[in-house]
Each structure stands twice: as structure tokens, then as C-alpha cells.
């Protein structure tokens, strides 16, 4: 059994590789040249001593140098994960790239599973209960979401392939200890609040958030490798936006330098208000507010679209499934962010 992992050097790809250490793996990484490939090989060698091949999903035939015959599993983890990504770039990498993985999969005669790491937000603008089924197009708040939905469709449309779609939550820490090795919209937002650069809260405080650790998510992904193909939503237990903010500020208040500044807790604002703020902030020359807000704004719209993700299939397929205390996780992650003065280094 040979598993090909795309995006193996990414935040999750590396952790999945570590979880599958000892198995027959081929790691696909994107690199500009031999120097970068050598550097990535050296880094991944510390995780697993397995072949590392260069694959750029923007190439016409990115797997031309990969032998399809031994491959029985593909975990497609490579993606551009940025909420402010342009439509063209998202299409090129996340959609066309997935189509190329699909084309390669069709050449793998022994293929037993093709797993796409997607996102819960491929659900787009829909509200309410979200089931572990294919989504129709109800609109999306950013091109990233659209591209992940389109990537799902790209794999689920043609019959015959053993496709597993794993829709992932927002990862805010490596593990329950709260260590943060990669920033995303959650951390950018917390940084804005901690710095006093934002006192508005985009979204409905009652909106549930699906936050999780990389550890939980990798456990889920590896469990799903033994599960039947299908769509699974990986959630470890929601927390509301309002509780998340209250929890973060409770942690911030323990920081003497934060406490001295007596910063107010943010007040909820409507969509148009937040859009106006983000628009006006574009003109704030060179300060930290503009880029941080730009990274948050394309996702903020989701905070007005409450969703309850069903996990029936996940729980049935993963006997080890346990809900996690999301409030405790936020507390741990925010404590770690303060300890590091919001400087994140990959580890």
C-alpha cells in the first residue's frame, strides 16, 4: 500500500506524514528549483525517510514523473489557503490542480482511496444545518471557499473514483496545549483585538465557530483512511463567536500590559458596517490595521451566516471521535499568542 501525499510540506501535510510514518509514502511538494527541493527534502527527512518528488499543480502534467502503478491512496492536501486569494489563482491551484490530481488518480489502477482535504466552508453562504453531503452552489463569501467547493465537485462528479472529502475546521493550535505554529484569520483577528486596532465585532455573537487543533484533525484524517469513501465533516464541538471573544478577552486581561491599556471589548456590527470599515481602512497608509483587516474581512461575512455542521458520518466512521472543549482550546491558544507576543514561528 503506497500513499501519495500532495502538499506534504504544508502545515497539515507534514503532520499527516508524521502520523503515517512507517508506511510506504511518496511526498509531493511544490518547489521553484532544485535548491528549494533539497531544502524541503531535508526538512521532511526529519519527519519520514521516504521519497519526496517535485509536483507543481499548475503544470499541465504535474505527476509526469510519478509512477502511478504502486499508488493505492492519495491524500490531496495541497491547496492555496488564503481568504483573500483572487478567483484566477484559486481556480488555477485549487480547482485545476485538483482536476490534475483526479486525472492522475484515474491512471492509478490499484487506487483504493482519493482523499481531498476540503473545508467546512465549502458550504458557502448557506445557513442552518449543513449535512455531510454534496453541496449545490448557494454562493460563497470569498474565492477560496468557492474553489474548495469546486474542487469537491471536480472529484465527486465523475463516477468510479473512491473519493473521500474531508471538510476541515479552522485550526487554531497544534494541540490542546495551545501552541500556535500557523496564523490564519482567527489569529489575525485576535491580534487586532489585543493591539486595540479593532473594536468592532463582525458577525452575530451567536454564530457557532468550528475551531480545532491540528492534532484532532490529523487523527480524524487518519481515521477516515480506514473508512468508506464519502463526505465527512470534521468538527470537534462548536463554540459561539461571542463566547470565543469573551474567552480571548478573559485571557488578554491577565496580561498586565493589555490590562493597563483598558481596551474595550468589541461591539457587534452589521455586515455593511464592517464592509465600510474594511473599505475605509484601505486608505490607512502603511499601518498595521490595513493588512490585518484585509486578511480578516474576506472571511468576516461567514460570521453572519450561522451554520451547524452535522458529523453523523464522521462519528460513525471514527470510533475514537470525542468532542473537545473549544473554550479551553481558545484559552490555550490565546495564552500561547500572548506568551509569544503574537510572533509565530513554524515548528
Amino acid at each position: 500500500m503506497t500513499t501519495l501525499i500532495t502538499g506534504a510540506d504544508g502545515y497539515l501535510g507534514r503532520r499527516i506524514t508524521a502520523a503515517l510514518r512507517g508506511q510506504d509514502l511518496i511526498l509531493a511538494v511544490r518547489c521553484a528549483d532544485q535548491t528549494e527541493l533539497d531544502r524541503k527534502r531535508a526538512r521532511l527527512a526529519r519527519v519520514a525517510d521516504v521519497p519526496v518528488v517535485p509536483v507543481d499543480l499548475r503544470d499541465a502534467d504535474p505527476f509526469a514523473h510519478v509512477d502511478p502503478r504502486p499508488i493505492t491512496r492519495i491524500i490531496h492536501a495541497a491547496a492555496l489557503i488564503r481568504f483573500d486569494v483572487s478567483r484566477d489563482t484559486a481556480e488555477q491551484v485549487n480547482v485545476a490542480g485538483t482536476a490534475r490530481v483526479r486525472d492522475f488518480a484515474q491512471r492509478c489502477d490499484r487506487l483504493e482511496q482519493l482523499m481531498l482535504l476540503s473545508t467546512l466552508y465549502s458550504a458557502g453562504r448557506r445557513r442552518g444545518e449543513v449535512h455531510e453531503t454534496r453541496h449545490d452552489d448557494t454562493g460563497f463569501v470569498n474565492h477560496y471557499e468557492w474553489s474548495k467547493w469546486a474542487a469537491e465537485e471536480c472529484l465527486l462528479d465523475p463516477p468510479g473514483l473512491p473519493v473521500t472529502v474531508a471538510r476541515l475546521p479552522t485550526l487554531i493550535a497544534d494541540d490542546a496545549g495551545g501552541a500556535v505554529a500557523q496564523y490564519n484569520a482567527f489569529h489575525h483577528t485576535m491580534r487586532l483585538y489585543h493591539a486595540g486596532l479593532l473594536t468592532l465585532l463582525p458577525g452575530d455573537p451567536a454564530t457557532p465557530l468550528s475551531l480545532a487543533t491540528a492534532e484532532f484533525t490529523v487523527d480524524a484524517v487518519t481515521a477516515l483512511l480506514a473508512a468508506p469513501p464519502g463526505i465527512y465533516q470534521i468538527c470537534s464541538g462548536p463554540v459561539t463567536l461571542g463566547t470565543a471573544i469573551d474567552t480571548a478577552f478573559t485571557v488578554f486581561d491577565q496580561d498586565p500590559s493589555f490590562r493597563r491599556r483598558m481596551l474595550p471589548r468589541p461591539i457587534p456590527c452589521d455586515r455593511a458596517g464592517f464592509r465600510d470599515l474594511a473599505h475605509a481602512a484601505r486608505a490607512l497608509r502603511g499601518g498595521p490595521l490595513q493588512p490585518a483587516l484585509a486578511s480578516v474581512a474576506p472571511f468576516a461575512e461567514q460570521l453572519y451566516l450561522p451554520k451547524h455542521f452535522r458529523t453523523d458520518r464522521l462519528r460513525a466512521a471514527w470510533p475514537g471521535y470525542r468532542t473537545h472543549d473549544a473554550t479551553a482550546l481558545i484559552e490555550a491558544a490565546c495564552t500561547d499568542l500572548i506568551k509569544r507576543s503574537f510572533h509565530v514561528t513554524a515548528h
Binding site: L200, R261, I267, C269, D270, A280, R285, P288
Partner: protein, 314 residues
């Protein structure tokens, strides 16, 4: 404070009216001119090199004097953001040189012989409202007093950027009188919030904290007057990015059509005076009716936030 009135509004601006693009070319702005234009700014007023903040104050008070409204003043409350702006910049041997107090000069120049003087200089752009509050407090504690002159004046020092917290600045002054006799408006309340923890806030922090604090300020000020924000008939603001009050109006559930800052493009942000400039414009507009309630919320470095609530009396 409920029994006091406010009126005799006047203001004076720096003599040179400049388009912001001209000032940008002269290196007086930090933001790109198109960004300030997108915020609604166009023109601002800069003093002639020899003019001082005191000259501006005197020009504003002279208008009140010319109307005959400067009689029986018992106190002068003089608010300034930059108290050192009107003194020399060389080394000081005799500290008396630092005590050339503008309120005393006004008293002497306009013959307000019985007026005592009070200075406010730690409330930044909110100082004029602090002056109203102090005026009300003085009248409340001095039953024999009838009228308090409130003045604010500032000019930026030569070479300074005419921009603060992304706002285009004008040199200018404003003045008004708080008294016991019926006048244009009743002064219902003045409310203040200070956060010294943000005393050295940079421009982005100032912008970032503006919304939550101003939201709280207006709610609390309205409550002191027995009102909900939605019951305010008008909100007269500082001249600042025109999106700011579009956002705040929604947060406060106010009709944005009731937010009044008509001099944004022509006058810019006059430190502590533009709220008075806008209030005068509203009172002169013919749109206000007796009994209407007006909130005047302002924010300033320090960080300070103040809001006056007035009721139109005539």
C-alpha cells in the same frame, strides 16, 4: 447642568485656505491626497506665519463682542490642545516666559474685568466640551454668576504635519457662552470618558478604538439626558472620515441623515473647534426646531471622548 443655556457661537479659521493637494505638495500631509479626498476632505485653513492661536481666539471672541454678547462674563474657560504652540521654542531662562496665558489676555483685551480664568489643556480635541462642562459646574457652584465664556484655539507649529489620525487639520478657534439666561440651546449634559492607558496611542490605535468608545460615549451621554440614542434628533460630529459615522449610525440605530458635519470638505478637522463650527451650521440651517435634542460627540488624544447633549430652546 440642566438649567443652563448655551449660545453666542463664533469661530475663526487660519487665514490661508489651501486645497489639500497643495499642502501635500508642500510636504504637510502624511497620507496620500487621494486617500484624504476619499475620506471627504478637500480644503483646510492654515495660519499666516506670524499668527498665533491667541490671534484666532481673539478673532472668535471679537465676533461675540461685536454682537454685544460679552457683557457680564464671570469666567473664561480656555481649552487648548497645544498650550506650548504659542510660546517661543528657544531655551528658557525665565519660566515666566512660559506663562503667557491666553485666557488672561482675552480678559484684559475685551475688558471682562470681573471674569476669572480657567485653562484646560489635557483633553485634546475634546477640550471645548470640557469647557462647557466646567462652565456648567462653575455656574452650579457660584449662584451669583451668570455667564461663562468658553473658548478653544489651536494652531499647529511651523513644519508640523497638518494631519492627525488620518484627518486633515485646520488652525482655528471657537467660542460660545454658557449662562443662566435663555439662549439658543439648553445644555442638558456633558459626558466624558478618558483612557490614559491609550495616552500614547498611535493613529491606527486611535482609529481602532474610536468605534467602541464613541458608541459607549453616545449611549451614556444620551442616557444622562434621559434618552436613547435613537431619540436624538441630530448628531453633530467632528470633521472626520465620512465613513466613520455611517458605521456608528448603524451601531447606534440612528438615521444617518441626522448626522451633521457639513463643513468636512471646506473646513477639515479644527482640533477642538470643528464640532462648534458644525453646530453653528446646523443652528443656522433653519432645520432645527425647539425641543429637538442634539448630541455633539467628539474624540481626542489622551485618549478622551466627550459628548454634549443640547436641547434647542428657540
Amino acid at each position: 447642568m440642566n438649567g443652563f443655556y448655551i449660545g453666542s457661537f463664533a469661530h475663526a479659521l487660519g487665514a490661508q485656505k489651501r486645497h489639500l493637494r497643495e499642502s501635500a505638495e508642500a510636504g504637510l500631509l502624511r497620507s496620500a491626497p487621494q486617500d484624504l479626498e476619499a475620506a471627504g476632505f478637500r480644503w483646510h485653513h492654515v495660519c499666516e506665519p506670524e499668527d498665533t492661536a491667541y490671534d484666532l481666539a481673539r478673532a472668535a471672541v471679537a465676533q461675540i463682542a461685536a454682537r454685544g454678547d460679552l457683557a457680564d462674563v464671570d469666567a473664561i474657560v480656555y481649552a487648548t490642545c497645544l498650550p506650548d504652540g504659542q510660546t517661543g521654542s528657544g531655551p528658557v531662562r525665565d519660566v515666566k516666559d512660559l506663562m503667557d496665558f491666553p485666557a488672561g489676555r482675552l480678559q484684559a483685551e475685551f475688558g471682562m474685568s470681573r471674569a476669572i480664568v480657567v485653562g484646560l489643556h489635557q483633553q485634546a480635541c475634546t477640550g471645548v466640551l470640557g469647557a462647557l462642562r466646567v462652565a456648567g459646574a462653575l455656574l452650579a457652584t457660584e449662584p451669583g454668576w451668570r455667564r461663562v465664556l468658553c473658548v478653544t484655539a489651536d494652531r499647529f507649529p511651523a513644519g508640523a504635519w497638518y494631519e492627525q489620525a488620518y484627518n486633515l487639520i485646520s488652525d482655528g478657534a471657537a467660542a460660545c457662552v454658557v449662562g443662566r439666561d435663555p439662549d439658543v440651546c439648553r445644555l442638558l449634559t456633558v459626558h466624558q470618558i478618558t483612557n490614559g492607558g491609550l495616552g500614547r496611542a498611535d493613529d491606527d490605535e486611535t482609529v481602532g478604538t474610536y468605534f467602541a468608545y464613541t458608541h459607549r460615549l453616545v449611549r451614556e451621554a444620551a442616557a444622562r439626558a434621559g434618552l436613547a440614542p435613537a431619540e436624538l434628533d441630530w448628531v453633530v460630529t467632528q470633521n472626520m472620515h465620512d465613513k466613520a459615522w455611517q458605521i456608528l449610525a448603524r451601531l447606534l440605530e440612528l438615521d444617518h441623515a441626522r448626522v451633521w458635519a457639513p463643513t468636512l470638505a471646506d473646513v477639515g478637522h479644527v482640533i477642538s473647534a470643528d464640532a462648534v463650527v458644525n453646530l453653528s451650521a446646523l443652528l443656522d440651517s433653519g432645520q432645527v426646531r425647539p425641543g429637538q435634542r442634539i448630541a455633539v460627540p467628539v474624540a481626542g488624544f489622551g485618549l478622551n471622548w466627550q459628548c454634549a447633549v443640547l436641547e434647542v430652546a428657540r
